[in-house]
């Protein structure tokens, strides 16, 4: 059947072609290959939209397109395939849209600022987009892993774009190593999935979530290596989760993300909104049918998420650089998504992934616009009063900030509220651990409101605090255009899933995202996931009351945080009120000494272990090898002395040998008896 699905590979390949074009002939193209990237991502975006509409008519697609290792006699088969269902179609649209806007924004941020090495930059963006799109459409875990790694590689290349300065290369290395550490567990998890189920497909009756479900129901048996099936599935799930924690910057592997701010700002927008960091959460959503089978894994995901949300939000409160605040808000927001997934709110987490993609891309591009205006000074204490100078940036940034803080009716309110609501009702239904995670998530709402508006007020309100802020650099259409698109989206995407309105006013059928995600393949629908999760729901008073209370509490906390920021910072000459926190500020400013403790861990624990391993390697393993060779060398140097060069000696040896041989045969053959 020829249809739009035949063109899905092109969605992935177009940005890849732009990567090749920018790499090969970028130098000879106007704008350093930017147009190739824009055309390619625009093409991908249009194809994604077409795919999206096809999927919205109820069609899905799950097809192997290339088998690169055929398994014989029951061995595993390794394949590339496409899985287009509502989740991946939605993600395709988000990723291609944001990649397109980032490419356009880069014209303003990189080209207009006279950067060099632009072909390298656009090649990196193209490959980054292509790898993320490949990851999104992957139909099996191994393919997902390969593109996951490519995403990591591209983040390395782009974070370290300004490699002549000391900071970026080091940040790039850190990002690569920290996420690689998580990916190591992911790789072991992939192998474990193959060893257990013999397949790594995400969807279908032969997929590993389905097999796991049947194994738990006793309908089929899989190799669980001597563990109880559920224990083993938890172990495998947690191994894969290692990669998720690294890529989605969850505690304790979040440390790379704030450093990644060293990269160009459009890259930060791409990393945080659509590609790298989203990959982790998307992976959990992709194989949610597997995680839903293990209450332990879900509880751990929820706890990590809730804790990260609070932990990162507190650090965002004291930062001075605008991008640092945004970095910690990203970590915190991805914590919410993990909380939602762990708390049984698959749709809520996907919803938050989507709204966050829009408002975080918006905030980063807005911050990029501010940074252009401020001549690449990122310190918020040098800004102030930019509201009048750059109204487009201000109003779009404000829209993104309201969404981030979760203020009604912006997009972030709906998604964050639903995440918290799902966690709350499932926690009340007999999972006290979820209530702990919920409490942390709720507390983080307050901090989010505070740091978001501290950032807004310091940047745009008050009086200019430096010469550049009094006379900022102007920005062009290529910056304002993407901002406007995202600003509208950040304000309005909430309407796709107004569950609180539905529950409170009793209007049926406006939970479009729920319906959308229910149109998936068998076994991948939101309903099916809800049946699989071990949670039951309970309400305070009644469903509508619980919704109202939950929404009121989180909105109240967000407004309280924003209000506190308003009181403290919306003055002509703000002072550093966080100084009053004293030692706590130092602790927060140093990120709870997470970097120091990880460096200590590397230096005092890992280094001695590796030194011991090195000794073992050099001494024992190499010793045996070297010993064998020196024995051969020594005996060779002795034996070669019979090579005298004198023919008589050889003749004598021949005679002697023959005699010995004859005597030997004689003795063995018994001639002399």
């Amino acid at each position: 059947m020829a249809g739009i699905f035949d063109f899905v590979p092109a969605i992935v390949l177009l940005p890849f072609v732009s990567f090749l074009v920018a790499l090969a002939v970028g130098n000879r193209m106007p704008k350093g290959g930017a147009f190739a990237g824009i055309v390619a991502t625009a093409g991908s975006f249009l194809l994604s939209l077409a795919t999206f509409f096809t999927v919205s008519q109820g069609q899905t697609y799950n097809q192997t397109i290339y088998t690169w290792a055929q398994g014989l006699d029951g061995a595993v088969t390794l394949e590339f395939g496409l899985l287009i269902d509502p989740l991946s179609a939605l993600m395709l649209v988000i990723v291609t849209l944001i990649a397109l806007l980032v490419h356009i924004f880069s014209l303003g941020y990189m080209n207009d600022e006279g950067e060099t090495g632009l072909p390298r930059y656009y090649a990196g963006l193209g490959l980054f987009t292509a790898s993320m799109l490949g990851f999104v459409v992957a139909d099996n875990l191994l393919m997902a892993f390969m593109f996951f790694e490519l995403v990591g590689l591209c983040s390395y290349l782009l974070i370290g774009f300004w490699f002549r300065e000391p900071g970026p290369p080091s940040a790039a290395k850190k990002a690569f190593l920290v996420t690689r550490f998580g990916d190591y567990f992911f790789l072991v998890g992939v192998v474990a999935v193959f060893a257990t189920f013999g397949t790594a497909a995400f969807a279908g009756s032969e997929s590993f979530p389905h097999l796991a479900e049947q194994a738990l129901a006793g309908e089929t048996s899989v190799n669980t290596f001597g563990f109880a099936a559920e224990t083993w599935f938890t172990i495998v799930g947690l191994l894969v989760l290692g990669g998720v924690v690294g890529k989605s910057a969850q505690f304790p592997l979040h440390t790379w993300l704030p450093d990644a701010m060293e990269g160009p700002t459009p890259v930060s927008a791409l990393i945080h909104a659509a590609t790298m960091v989203a990959a982790g959460v998307y992976l959990v959503a992709r194989m949610y049918g597997f995680y839903a089978l293990s209450p332990t894994a879900l509880a751990i995901i929820a706890l990590i998420g809730g804790f990260t949300a609070l932990f990162a939000a507190t650090m965002g409160v004291v930062k001075r650089e605008i991008k640092q605040v945004l970095a910690y808000s990203t970590i915190s927001q991805y914590g919410y998504m993990m909380l939602g997934l762990g708390g049984g709110g698959y749709v809520a987490a996907t919803f938050h992934l989507m709204t966050h993609a829009f408002f975080k891309a918006l905030l980063f591009l807005g911050a990029g616009s501010v940074i252009i205006a401020m001549h690449h000074n990122e310190n918020m204490w040098d800004m102030g009063g930019l509201k009048e100078k750059m109204p487009v940036t201000y109003y779009t940034f404000l829209s993104g900030s309201l969404a981030l803080a979760g203020i009604f009716p912006f997009a972030g309110f709906w998604s964050k509220d639903e995440v918290l609501y799902e966690t709350l009702i499932h926690g009340l239904g007999g999972s006290p651990i979820l209530l702990v995670a919920y409490a942390m998530g709720l507390l983080a709402v307050f901090f989010t409101g505070f740091y978001t508006f501290r950032m807004v007020f310091l940047t745009f309100h008050g009086k200019p605090r430096s010469q550049t802020a009094r006379d900022p650099h102007g920005v062009r259409w290529n910056v304002k255009g993407p901002l406007a698109v995202l600003g509208v989206l950040a304000a309005t995407t909430g309407v796709v899933n107004m569950v609180p309105v539905e529950k409170l006013l009793g209007i049926k059928g406006i939970d479009f995202l729920h319906q959308w995600l229910d149109m998936s393949l068998d076994g991948l629908t939101a309903h099916h996931y809800a049946e699989l999760t071990p949670y039951s729901s309970a309400y305070i008073g009644g469903e509508a009351t619980t919704v109202a209370i939950g929404a009121a509490v989180s909105l109240g906390l967000a407004i309280a945080g924003a209000g506190l920021a308003y009181v403290l910072y919306n003055v002509p000459e703000p002072t550093e009120h966080t100084d009053k926190l004293g030692g706590i500020k130092t602790l927060l400013y140093n990120n709870y000494y997470q970097d120091e403790y990880q460096v200590w861990l590397a230096n005092s624990v890992v280094r001695p272990i590796s030194r011991g391993a090195d000794k073992f390697d050099q001494g024992v393993v190499d010793g045996v090898v070297n010993g064998v060779s020196s024995v051969s060398l020594f005996s060779g140097s002795r034996v070669r002395r019979i090579q005298t060069g004198v023919v008589s000696n050889y003749a004598a040896l021949l005679t002697l040998g023959l005699t010995v041989l004859l005597l030997g045969f004689g003795l063995l053959g018994g001639w002399f008896q």
Partner: protein, 100 residues
């Protein structure tokens, strides 16, 4: 008829004389002669057994061996010529360049 043991003793004696020559002499020409002796000792054996068993195969082989010996002498003399040119003599203990 002469008993075959006599032939065997004769052949063993000639072989030992040839071997002795190879092991003790240093002159390459004497080497060549000693090798001839050893070959002919083998020939005597072949002919003797052929005579004892009444089978001519052994004698055929003896003819082959003689042809082979002629060829061998041709090569051997050639080697001795080269030896003389390169080392100024036919002493085999001088030509020890191919050693460790």
């Amino acid at each position: 008829m002469v008993p075959p043991e006599y032939y065997l003793v004769l052949s063993a004696a000639i072989f030992c004389i040839g071997l002795f020559g190879i092991l003790t002499r240093r002159n390459a020409l004497l080497f060549l002669m000693s090798v001839e002796l050893m070959l002919n000792a083998a020939n005597i054996n072949l002919v003797a057994f052929s005579y004892v068993w009444g089978n001519v195969t052994g004698q055929t082989f003896a003819l082959f061996t003689m042809a082979l010996a002629a060829a061998e002498v041709a090569i051997g003399l050639g080697i001795i010529m080269v030896l003389y040119r390169n080392f100024g003599g036919v002493d085999v203990t001088d030509a020890t360049t191919m050693r460790w």
